[in-house]
């Protein structure tokens, strides 16, 4: 028998696509809500808090089932599985990433804001040039961790026949009764995506702790 049934290929691609688009959505939501939870405006803090607490404290499976079964009634039309997958993991991990970004922003010393404001930078400019670049360096390891979990969590799509890797593995295995042969290569394919991310996370963690090396200046010094 074949080692890797060819149905796995479209499944693998679907999983990759959902993971990538989901990650982009999660990052966008994470940055927005992470910033909302650090500004000095109570209403915005509360909105960010509600988002984070709701999506962190309910199971992803429930959320995805909700999008699959209830969303069509709300918007009055069928929702493609791909979209369900993307908003499913995107919104769920967006809540976690929002927390990662909030703690990252709060870890930047207050004096950095003082320095930026004293020079006349606006809040947005301060964030863009001064705070977020520092936040980013600190949060890269936990962020990579979130990306890794997001990839694995795309497998909930299998429960709603999402045409992803896990779905194909399961349906192929059930058809033939070869469960070991079905799940092992499936796990291996997830591993192929996740292991490099885990390695990257470790590398970024080490790099973030390093003291920077002075740059050689050409022409100016």
């Amino acid at each position: 028998m074949e080692v890797l049934p060819e149905e796995y290929i479209p499944g693998f691609i679907m999983t990759l696509k959902v993971a990538l688009a989901g990650l982009l959505l999660a990052l966008a939501l994470g940055v927005i809500f992470g910033m909302l939870s650090t500004v000095k405006v109570k209403v915005l803090n509360v909105i960010a808090r509600i988002y984070v607490e709701f999506f962190q404290n309910t199971p992803l499976v429930v959320q995805v089932f909700f999008y699959y079964n209830c969303l069509p009634f709300v918007i009055g039309g069928r929702v493609p599985k791909f979209i369900i997958g993307v908003i499913g993991v995107g919104i769920y991990h967006g809540a976690y990433i929002s927390e990662v970004i909030r703690t990252g922003i709060e870890a930047v010393p207050r004096g950095q804001f003082d320095a930026a404001y004293s020079q006349g930078f606006t809040y947005i400019q301060t964030m863009r040039y001064i705070i977020l670049p520092q936040t980013l360096k600190m949060i890269m390891p936990p962020l990579a961790n979130q990306a890794l979990n997001l990839v694995k969590n795309t497998s909930v799509l299998a429960m709603i026949a999402g045409m992803d890797l896990m779905y194909h593995a399961d349906s192929w295995g059930s058809d033939l009764g070869y469960f070991v042969q079905a799940y092992l290569p499936c796990a291996l394919l997830y591993f192929v995506i996740c292991f490099p991310i885990a390695k990257l996370s470790r590398y970024l963690e080490i790099r973030a702790k390093r003291t920077p090396v002075p740059k050689k200046m050409k022409g100016v010094a």
């Binding site: 003082d114 320095a115 404001y117 020079q119 003291t211 002075p214 200046m217 010094a221």
Partner: protein, 240 residues
């Protein structure tokens, strides 16, 4: 240059500044002294609205400062040097110096870098342009911070205890730079405990205690014959 009227600042029920009236002339070197908790840092931080006053007004060049225009006022008139230096750690020294001129004042990059190198030379750190703040000693970082404050070419520089976080042997190198600066037509407001510096450069000294300005006068007056009992007690403890 600066006019402070009936300034009050509370943190919750704690009154840090009680009623401050103060005028600083253009080009004047004003030194603020006083014990910890007397409100001197809060006062200087109100001058560029890093702290928003609870009541009262701050005018820079006759323009009323508000929460809304504080960025514009900072871009136009003032810069600040902090106790903890507050250099941007993810940027090189040169990038620290050129960020505001390039992004806020729209100075061309080449020109901003040339200006930055000029001021780095002046604080004796031209060879550190490519270094990161973490590569530098405290004294060097503070000199870079002063150069950064100069790069935007404002008329007013606020110093909030610029030498208090330094190792004793690094204090002098920073003070030397500040003394050099005092010979120019820059308005300097400086919160400090360095009495030698105050004596050397101040046009006027104010002594704060408990949220009030208790006494003000020339350095001469202060160090030879202060009138207020509280001032005398404070000075006798720090002058030996």
């Amino acid at each position: 240059m600066i006019k402070v009227e009936n300034l009050k600042k509370n943190y919750g029920s704690l009154e840090v500044l009680k009623n401050i009236n103060l005028t600083v002339e253009e080009g004047e070197k004003l030194v603020i002294i006083g014990p910890s908790g007397s409100g001197k840092s809060t006062l200087i931080r109100c001058m560029n609205y890093l702290e928003e006053p609870t009541a009262g007004e701050v005018y820079i060049n006759d323009q009323l400062m508000t929460k809304k225009n504080r960025g514009e006022m900072a871009r136009k008139y003032s810069s600040m040097v902090f106790q903890q230096f507050n250099l941007y750690p993810h940027m090189t020294v040169l990038q620290n110096l050129t960020l505001a001129p390039i992004k806020l004042q729209k100075v061309p990059k080449k020109e901003a870098e040339a200006t930055a190198m000029k001021y780095l030379e002046r604080v004796g750190l031209a060879d550190k342009a490519g270094a990161y703040p973490q590569n530098l000693s405290g004294g060097q970082q503070q000199r870079v911070a002063i150069a950064r404050a100069l790069c935007t070419k404002q008329k007013l520089i606020l110093f909030d205890e610029p030498t208090s976080a330094l190792d004793p042997e690094m204090v002098q190198e920073v003070l030397d730079v500040m003394v050099g600066l005092s010979k120019e037509n820059i308005t300097m407001v400086c919160v400090t405990h360095e009495m030698g510096f105050a004596r050397q450069v101040a046009d006027r000294v104010i002594f704060m205690d408990g949220g009030y300005i208790v006494e003000e006068g020339t350095p001469e007056h202060f160090f030879t014959n202060p009138e207020n009992e509280r001032t005398k007690a404070f000075l006798s403890k720090i002058l030996h």
